[in-house]
Homo-oligomer: 354 residues x 2
DNA sequence: CTGAAAGCGCTTACAG
DNA sequence: CTGAAAGCGCTTACAG
């Protein structure tokens, strides 16, 4: 690329000379401080800014002030609907503080994730929101740089690392309990990869519910997959190929639940009549499937607002912050059809112009 | 926020003194230029960098060099699956060039969109990829700044504005023609908002196909909506409430097609047996609905690669660049079930860990 | 091949 | 209330 030839930008110097004042005063006006400015002077400066169309150079400002007004977000894959919805809210929220967002997408690659983080740190982000794709997140380089970081993962908070998460185990337990409340006794589970932390928690929550109900766990009905639609599809087929079939299924994310719906449909299994399903981390997407998915959901806007706020109020803290969760009823579990959230107008949808 | 107290970062000065050389030489080594460096010196510098864990400050580099190695992307809503998939590819692609991405999400708000663009320009992005939510895009401020910009909209290219787009009218025509090839003669359409450019093109393409087949257009079967699932749902209900019902329907984006599927299902209309559907700008999401959606698709990875390349090779050019399109067969149009793309393994899916 | 120094466009003590 | 000046951490002609 090299240096671009652009029409000379208006600089703060020109504004100052036009206003008949010093460059310092222009700064004071723009930043409302740190020194007071006489009202008359302020007016002249504002006038000069308007006349010249001056726009401050954020890069120079960042170098001098040490703050970039930029946050970084690192995610495994922005094309995942749950992540995309979260990103949407994070963007809206950070904008309220005048911050922009550097987005990093690791494509589920641990090495790339590290490169991305390093790149964001080099660009001096004021804070980082981090969902790791990797077994163990790269928090060391972040902490070493002193950059505030909020992890939205099921990891343990450390010094300098805040964690924002829901009680996955409890949520999984409730999801399973909901299936049990329908009277189903034979409940299976499709999980994520064994090495992921949230897989363990969700699996354990399922066990908790089964155990609490005094029900045996059939090992053939614990099918590991990879959190993708494709994986859910194949896990469902695998389940059907085994001896016997459960009456209900807790599927550990929405994508897999969607994949499994297709598999069951192809095999002539009716959901929820033959087999009931509850998903996890649902989005509005699931509400439009046939049948609509019953899912554990997280209050995404609330998460975003909290994350950004924590970043702003950062005080070298680590700490664990809980997120509540709730079960969004759909048709897939056997709840009465036409649940309120499916009526037009009751569910806020993002506008989708493409 | 204010200035953060962080453990003093290693600076280029320390590296230089440790290597027993000047700061300039450190730059030459890191940037591979613009001056040659003796091999022995280079080694000492690299050694010093390793020892100190030095990481160059991108902000300072940007201020001095005039290039930030940062692109900006402005979209109406990142939570839209089509946009999210595109963003994913753009991120992967820009990373290949060592660039990071500032993402702006206007939330379909024209004023906010302008603020975002101004913010990105102030941050000196090396280039902008821009999908406008607004009736007329804010290209003036971009051009005035001399920033390369690629628009992924159906707007006309101007001086300093490149446009990357498919032939929407032709694509819409082909989508409709596909329905006609099934033998359906009564074909309706659910469109986007009348004021949007792509609405006009897609509507016209539908007309073209109908006209070419010598078929009359029933005005009751032209239902405007708003490109949301909710809008598609309601448009479908509206269609059913009118006099007579078409045998087939061209729905102008995937979200509305998904919404309409639910409405038809609720009303006992079977797709495709009673009513066939073809969508537009489909994603993998549509392939997992029941029935799977037949859709016009764009080669998203190719778009991303081209956009980033154009930004790099930018030469003050405007220009129009065509994107090809293709019809992805699904079940919703009445094509034989189990089309190849629905077989496991044949379709590449993003990993979805949440 | 190497280094001293100007400069990128800001912010902000410091001195008036 | 205002201004001259140092400094943020780099890059890059320029002179050796």
């Amino acid at each position: 690329m090299g240096k671009r030839l652009t029409q000379r930008r208006v600089t703060r110097e020109e504004v100052a000379s036009l206003a008949g004042t010093s460059v310092a005063v222009v700064s004071y006006v723009i930043n409302n401080g740190p020194r007071p400015v006489a009202e008359a002077t302020r007016e002249r400066v504002l006038q000069a800014i308007r006349q010249t169309g001056y726009q401050p150079n954020s890069i120079a400002r960042a170098l001098a002030s040490g703050t970039t007004r930029t946050f970084g977000v690192v995610v495994p894959d922005i094309s995942n609907p749950f992540i995309a919805s979260l990103a949407h809210e994070l963007l809206q929220e950070s904008m309220r503080y005048g911050h922009v967002m550097l987005l990093g997408d690791s494509g589920d690659d641990g090495q790339r994730e590290q490169d991305i983080i390093q790149g964001l740190l080099n660009r001096q982000v004021d804070g980082l929101i981090y969902i790791s794709a990797d077994r163990q997140p790269h928090t060391e380089i972040i902490c070493r740089s002193g950059t505030p970081v909020i992890m939205l993962d099921g990891v343990e908070p450390g010094p300098g690392v805040s964690v924002l998460r829901m009680d996955e185990r409890q949520a999984a337990r409730e999801a399973t309990a909901h299936l049990l409340s329908h009277g189903y006794r034979e409940v299976g589970i499709i999980t994520g990869p064994a090495w992921m932390l949230n897989t363990r928690d969700r699996l354990q929550g399922w066990r908790d519910a089964m155990e609490h109900a005094g029900l045996a766990v059939n090992p053939h009905w614990v099918v590991p997959a990879d959190y993708t639609r494709q994986g859910g599809y194949q896990a469902a087929l695998h389940l059907l190929s085994g001896p016997g079939c459960p009456r209900a299924l807790f599927v550990c994310n929405e994508q897999m639940a969607i994949g499994s719906l297709r598999a069951f449909h192809q095999q002539g299994i009716r959901v929820p009549d033959d087999l009931a399903i509850v998903g996890f981390n649902g989005t509005d997407q699931g509400a439009y499937h046939l049948p609509s998915l019953t899912s554990v959901r997280q209050p995404i806007a609330e998460i975003a607002a909290t994350a950004i706020r924590l970043l702003h109020e950062w005080q070298a803290g680590g700490g664990l912050h809980d997120i509540r969760h709730f079960l969004e009823p759909g048709e897939s579990c056997g709840c009465p059809a036409g649940s309120p959230s499916l009526q037009p107008g009751l569910r806020k949808n993002a506008t989708d112009n493409y």
